[in-house]
Symmetry: C2
Subunit: 127 residues, 2 copies
């Protein structure tokens, strides 16, 4: 099964906010084998939008898309808005004859390594 | 000079979103010497609000408050809304006879350790 990954950030109309996400995505891409399908997408307020990126990947032949949210926590967006968005995309694709598995993962901020790195930075700044 | 630290998160009306921030704050507090003044506050949509926490700290005798944003990046909120909020709080406190230094730090997500931890988690999930 051909798999692709989308890093999902919230999005902002402020380009200063978007910049670190681009850097992060590029840094991750450089650490992966060349050609690993990795995209960055936004939920709202910025391009490219999640829907468009997922549709493009599936139409390019990726049958499974993992969506990894660059969020600190799962609130309404990740528990309701994004799942609904992915359901709609999947139905649209299905009607067009494209079968796809779209898998939304837990937010990256909940991972112990990330929480631990944040703790260490705060503790260092406080010392 | 008596110093205190406020961890600032965006805030959400969804209690599920708030929970990891509470856990993070508690985990950090446990790693600091007992009695280190460390608070968690939200910019909007959740209590306690940043303004209220800062005012309380200053009125309790803390002359310098470091505000560490638990944000991935600095957009309009951290470049405009929060500085304006802190300016207003400082002026209000000054009028009431309380001198205070309120220092807004860069967002924690821009710190290399945090970016690196995020990269490592993504790369592991992709392997």
């Amino acid at each position: 099964m051909k798999k692709a990954t989308v890093l999902l950030a919230h999005g902002s109309s402020d380009p200063h906010w978007l910049e670190p996400f681009d850097q992060l995505k590029n840094s991750i891409a450089q650490q992966l084998p060349a050609g690993t399908p990795l995209k960055l997408a936004y939920m709202e307020l910025a391009e490219p939008m999640l829907e468009d990126v997922v549709i493009e990947l599936v139409k390019c032949g990726y049958e499974h898309v993992d969506v990894l949210p660059l969020f600190f926590a799962a609130g309404r967006h990740l528990r309701k808005d994004v799942p609904e968005m992915l359901d709609t995309v999947q139905q649209t694709l299905q009607q067009q004859g494209f079968a796809s598995e779209l898998e939304l993962h837990p937010p990256i901020g909940l991972e112990p390594e990330v929480a631990s790195a944040i703790s260490q930075v705060v503790i260092r700044q406080l010392s």
